[in-house]
């Protein structure tokens, strides 16, 4: 059985990187005695993946873990609850058909909530932001695995609202197009390490509309659980 699990990651766990987190999930699920399914082959590994890497230093309200079990686990969230550290809260789980594509490849957008912008920076930021949103193309050099690359980042920003000292963003994320929230903040002359950044939600794209993984699962006819 394939499940998608939604959880929040807070507190000091923000300092735990993507791979360490994935590794921890294996331990959590083992402690919870969830019957994990393993890959075939020389060195079998549990069929686990995280929907989208969360940069170190960020907290998140909506992380998604995809896992495959050898049998149905109707009380999955309950089982896990006893084995997760207090900085993780499991929000729910949903069973998806086995043939569903890996969630990692389906995620297209991410919402971020950026807090802690200094009062004195507001006016300038408003201007910079309006300026940015008014353009149709903004080329910026960003770091990629392959090295520095020139990318048009404007189409990767789907919205950016400044309310008081809070900035709400929806950015492209995933295998097709990806903009790191730190890169955008730097482009807007903000210092990411001085801000509190939370990831609020992840979305798939269905006919040009952003839908959350659980909405997607519901629409494809699977019962929600947890």
């Amino acid at each position: 059985m394939k499940y998608w699990l939604q959880y929040s990651k807070g507190g000091n766990l923000r300092f735990i990187g993507h791979l360490d987190m994935l590794h921890s999930w294996e331990r959590i699920l083992r402690r919870a005695r969830v019957p994990l399914a393993f890959s075939q082959g020389y060195s079998p590994h549990p069929l686990l993946s995280l929907a989208a890497p969360l940069p170190v230093g960020l907290i998140s309200q909506a992380e998604y873990l995809e896992l495959v079990t050898t049998e149905a686990v109707p009380n999955l969230t309950e089982m896990i609850a006893v084995a997760v550290p207090s900085d993780i809260r499991v929000a729910g789980a949903v069973a998806v058909p086995d043939k569903t594509k890996p969630l990692m490849g389906l995620i297209r957008y991410a919402d971020y909530l950026v807090e802690g912008i200094a009062e004195g920076q507001r006016a300038q930021l408003e201007k910079t932001l309006a300026d940015f949103l008014g353009q149709t193309s903004v080329i910026r050099t960003v770091r990629r695995k392959s090295g520095m690359k020139r990318v048009d980042i404007r189409p990767l920003v789907h919205f950016a609202h400044l309310q008081g000292t809070t900035l709400r963003l929806r950015l492209s994320i995933g295998s097709v197009a990806n903009l790191r929230v730190e890169d955008l903040l730097q482009h807007l002359d903000l210092i990411p390490s001085s801000l509190q950044i939370a990831r609020e939600q992840l979305y798939l794209d269905v006919d040009g509309k952003a839908v959350t993984p659980f909405q997607y699962a519901a629409a494809t006819g699977t019962a929600l659980e947890g």
């Binding site: 507190g11 000091n12 766990l13 300092f15 735990i16 990187g17 360490d20 987190m21 590794h23 921890s24 294996e26 331990r27 959590i28 699920l29 083992r30 402690r31 005695r33 994990l36 393993f38 082959g41 020389y42 060195s43 079998p44 549990p46 170190v56 230093g57 084995a83 550290p85 900085d87 390490s193």
Partner: protein, 609 residues
């Protein structure tokens, strides 16, 4: 703190929020900081400290927390922000604890200990500490000669700590409630068997720098003998060890299957100080493994001991563990293999998929020298084992050797090359079909250690060691199947100095600390020149400690301490070495009367007779 954490390379080292980390209110409790003088990833891989954490926290009246050496990036931020060294769980400054216990695993961590005391704001020298400061305790293998650290520690604990820790905490609780002075408290602690308070002993020197005498200055035992557990009880084993988020060196369940080793390799200190062999029962081990797996979620069990293949019921243990946990995809690893077909058989059972490196330790290149060191392995054994491994799918093997062993000649060095070459073509020598193996010879410099039959021997000078390395490099360059690895002789030289050093070396440690020495075990931080500068400043000759032969009747800096093994037995073993006489393992053959079972309430304890 958050602000500092976001600037360091690996903040996860300092969070203290791991699964199974123990949080207790400090109010009304004895506070114990368990310190490992190296970085998190190494410290967390150490079973001994997890055992003490478990044993101390089992007590209602005690809270034990962890503290490790901050990496250099963190250290500079801490110093910049005047943030003192803190314990991981509560983030409280270490200097506010009642007790700070360091584990002394290797000599090259001594500079880190001093740096940690300094970062904690605890006076570095024990004599400068007042009633408001913690008592600084040392334990672990280096306490069998802790003399270079005597100025920095309030007391040391010799031997297995599980039981004596409770006695120390009881005595401390009494002293605390009675409001005793530091001196009074130490005097009361010194009455506990296994506790050594160095400030109660006076060392006199001869003009030539050797020791004239070590005398008690107070009412303390003239010789402090180690504590030893007659039985490794399961309740002492950490059933809920702290699970790191960060990948560590040993990121798995470490299951200690026995303590002690009586093979009797004459260079090996562990083979003396942990005597005798005490095995856990197979039933206990399976039950412990199950409990720890449930409590941690680990996916691998490592069978830990000084020589895992010697566990008397190993094949059955491996079968039991595989049967019980194999279907949950829990791997089993055997960290040390003996050179025989039995070991290869066990390694084959636990092997999953592609095989990694096979590691074997013949230690010396010739049969003669292996007899000298009492390593009871023949060339035939090695070639059989390697060819067996080759037949099972291994393609490469790593062989550990030592250079600079007593009585070594050029022929012994050539023997290293010959043995490596034969191992590559092992199948031919044992007349089996097969393919040649890739062989890596890893060559370490011999460091004479206290409490070994070679404790009187000089270490080769750095120049001689380097010549020997060059000689080997020349030989190995002739065969591209063979790789040679060795490390700089400088670190081995310093190890030899501190391993057999006396109290005067405390001055060198202070100077080295002032010069900024730390993380000496890390090549990127090791600064040999600074150490030599420190020796010059302290007006001490390093070669006096490393390269000098001791006389039989010389008073050694550690003569007033005892692991139970007698000095006479060590000397007899030394004589046997020169006569190429082999001493069999007492676990299977007869007792060679080393002294442990005669002097201490303990005997060899096997899982299966």
């Amino acid at each position: 703190m958050q602000h500092i954490l976001s600037q360091v390379e690996k903040p996860a080292r300092y969070l203290g929020n791991e699964w199974n980390a123990v949080r207790k209110d400090h109010q009304g409790r004895i506070t114990l900081a368990l310190a490992f003088p190296d970085v998190y990833e190494i410290a967390m891989s150490h079973l001994g400290l997890q055992i003490l954490y478990h044993v101390a926290n089992q007590r209602e009246d005690t809270v034990a927390e962890r503290v490790y050496a901050p990496w250099t990036d963190m250290e500079s931020l801490m110093r910049q922000h005047c943030l003192p060294l803190f314990a991981l769980e509560s983030k409280r400054p270490v200097r506010e604890f009642d007790l700070v216990g360091f584990t002394l695993q290797y000599e090259m961590s001594y500079s880190n200990i001093i740096n940690m005391l300094d970062l904690a704001g605890i006076p570095i020298l024990a004599r400068d500490r007042g009633n408001e400061h913690p008592l600084v305790i040392g334990g672990g293998p280096c306490v069998y000669n802790p003399e270079p650290l005597a100025d920095f520690f309030d007391f040391f604990v010799l031997g297995d700590a599980e039981e004596v820790l409770g006695e120390i905490l009881d005595a401390y609780a009494q002293a605390k409630s009675a409001g005793w002075s530091r001196e009074q408290t130490l005097l009361s602690l010194s009455q506990i068997s296994g506790v050594y308070v160095p400030s109660f002993y006076e060392v006199q020197y001869h003009d030539d720098g050797t020791i004239a005498s070590v005398q008690p200055k107070a009412d303390v035992p003239p010789v402090v003998t180690k504590r030893v557990l007659a039985e490794l009880k399961p309740e002492y084993f950490p059933s809920k060890p702290v699970v790191p988020y960060l990948g560590t060196v040993h990121d798995r369940l470490s299951l200690e299957i026995f303590r002690g080793c009586t093979r009797g390799c004459r260079f090996c200190q562990a083979g003396v100080i942990y005597r005798p062999v005490r095995e856990r029962s197979r039933e206990d081990l399976v039950a412990l493994a199950e409990a720890v797996l449930r409590a941690t979620g680990y996916n691998e069990i490592s069978l830990m001991s000084l020589s895992t293949m010697d566990y008397s019921d190993l094949a059955a243990l491996v079968d039991d563990l595989l049967a019980k946990f194999g279907c949950d995809h829990v791997k089993l690893s055997l960290p040390s293999l003996r050179i025989d077909s039995f070991s290869i058989e066990q390694a084959k059972k636990v092997k999953q998929g592609r095989t990694g490196n096979l590691t074997l330790a013949p230690e010396a290149g010739s049969q003669r020298l292996r007899d000298v060191i009492n390593k009871q392995v023949t060339e035939e054994d090695l070639l059989q084992a390697v060819s067996g491994a080759q037949a099972e799918g291994w393609r490469s093997v790593k062989l550990y050797f030592m250079i600079g062993l007593p009585t070594e000649t050029e022929a012994d060095l050539e023997g290293i090359f010959d043995l490596a070459k034969k191992a590559a073509w092992a199948h031919r020598y044992v007349k089996q079909p097969g393919k040649p193996m890739r062989v890596t010879a890893s060559v370490a410099a011999f460091v004479p250690k206290p409490w070994t039959p070679f404790q009187w021997e000089p270490q080769d000078s750095m120049y001689v060691l380097e010549q020997k390395q060059l000689f080997l490099r020349e030989l190995f360059s002739k065969d591209r199947r063979l790789t040679l690895n060795y490390h700089g002789a400088e670190l081995s030289f310093l190890e030899a100095i501190f391993a057999r050093g006396d109290r005067r070396l405390g001055r060198v440690l202070l100077e080295a600390h002032a010069l900024g020495c730390r993380f000496d075990g890390w090549s990127e931080h090791f600064a040999f020149d600074k150490w030599m500068q420190a020796f010059a400043a302290a007006e001490l000759d390093p070669t006096f400690y490393a390269n000098r032969r001791r006389e039989r009747d010389e008073v050694l800096p550690w003569d007033h301490l005892s692991p139970g093994v007698s000095k006479e037995w060590l000397w007899k073993e030394r004589e046997a070495a020169w006569q190429l006489a082999v001493t069999p393992d007492c676990r299977s053959a007869h007792c060679s009367v080393c002294g442990v079972c005669q002097h201490l309430p303990v005997t060899t304890r096997l899982a299966k007779e």
